[in-house]
């Protein structure tokens, strides 16, 4: 299956006045692990991040094409894009390829540039958006991630609690998946800072 060729795991969670997004770091070709520092989360704005799990070539191409569109948007409109609008932009980009899609199922996490309201969302490979109030997951071990998130998530967690929850959810989910893992990275996005931490996990 194409979406399972490279393997990936991404989670985004909402906290009180903050959001978190985390991913694994493996880049593999089926069973063979090739790299352990592959970037799957990209910064699209000072408080806007997108996680792209799926086929690695499409991860990179979608990121580049999205960056292209976003740059023109920001130049034309002379403002930072809102997370909700960015969601529509990504959805539009993916649906343009409805009958020959990009094999990525993105996850978006960010804070509104004006109100700093937290926002998380995910979508399928043809752009169907889903906005939630708690957490979103995407990748080859999505079932495992759903299970972990349901257990550890609670509303209104502060940045430190959120970090613990998202890290535990990711680490334990990828340990039950052959093609995800080999390290993790977490971004905690708050109004005035973004904290990036590398997770130490099982390297297998």
């Amino acid at each position: 299956s194409i979406l399972e060729y490279n393997g990936a795991a991404i989670i985004a969670m909402k906290g009180r006045d903050c959001v978190a997004i985390a991913s694994d770091r493996r880049f593999g070709i089926q069973a063979q692990t090739v790299s352990t520092n592959f970037q799957k989360i990209f910064e699209m704005g000072p408080r806007l991040y997108i996680g792209l799990p799926g086929l690695a070539t499409d991860v990179q191409t979608v990121h580049q094409r999205l960056q292209f569109r976003l740059n023109l948007y920001e130049l034309r409109e002379n403002r930072r894009i809102k997370p909700k609008t960015f969601l529509s932009m990504v959805s539009n980009l993916l649906y343009e390829r409805r009958f020959g899609p990009y094999f990525v199922e993105p996850v978006i996490a960010g804070l509104d540039p004006k109100t700093f309201e937290p926002f998380i969302a995910s979508m399928d490979l043809i752009g169907c958006p889903m906005v939630t109030d708690d957490f979103v997951v995407s990748g080859t071990c999505s079932e495992q991630m759903y299970g972990m998130c349901e257990s550890v998530w609670e509303p209104n967690m502060d940045p430190q609690e959120l970090f613990e929850s998202i890290s535990q959810a990711l680490l334990n989910a990828v340990d039950r998946d052959a093609v995800s893992g080999w390290g993790g990275i977490v971004h905690i996005i708050e109004k005035d800072q973004v904290t990036t931490t590398e997770l130490k996990g099982r390297m297998d």
Binding site: R76, E77, R79, K82, K84, T85, S88, M89, N92, K114
Partner: protein
Amino acid sequence: MSERYSFSLTTFSPSGKLVQIEYALAAVGAGAPSVGIKASNGVVLATEKKQKSILYDENSIHKIEMITKNVGMVYSGMGPDYRVLLRNARKLAQSYYLQYQENIPTAQIVHKIANVMQEYTQSGGVRPFGVSLLIAGWDEDEERPYLYQCDPSGAYFAWKATAMGKNFVNGKTFLEKRYSDNLELEDAVHTAILTLKESFEGQMTEDNIEIGICNKDGFRRLSPPEVKDYLASVQ
């Protein structure tokens, strides 16, 4: 000398002008007066809609039209050219909404319309549009009103208050005296009517002028009874 260069739009005259655009501006200057005023909490557009015969059904055709819920426009000049631009503008605004699920900001739609107008000054076999547009919008993000003017050349300007069409010079002078930054929308409507009155021949009624307002609740054209109320406080 410049007549030699007036036939082809895409040819510059020796003085550096595109004469067709000058002529288009003349067409605008001969058109019915229109006025736009930006208040602190909204924008008003007003225009004269004199019909040549009493047999005209006045309320069937409108000069002030909505582009999207938050942006409207009016013109001075050739009505048919206006219709084409209006249709174009509406489609452009909808394309934006389709992509971003967000209403197009006023400055963006003005830019797109102006680009269309500019294309017609640099393409083969076409002539410039014989209209100047006044575009009024409310920006949801910045929570402020905007008033722009688009010329046949494709140039656009942001205004606090302006007049176009017949007697626009007098109109602008009148507005320069009457405008203040803390004008509210109600006062702006009043001032707009007075500005139109300066160049109006005959009696102003709710059937021979049109007024549109744009505020945080969006753009809408005032109904004849509403216009009548405003006129009553002026006359």
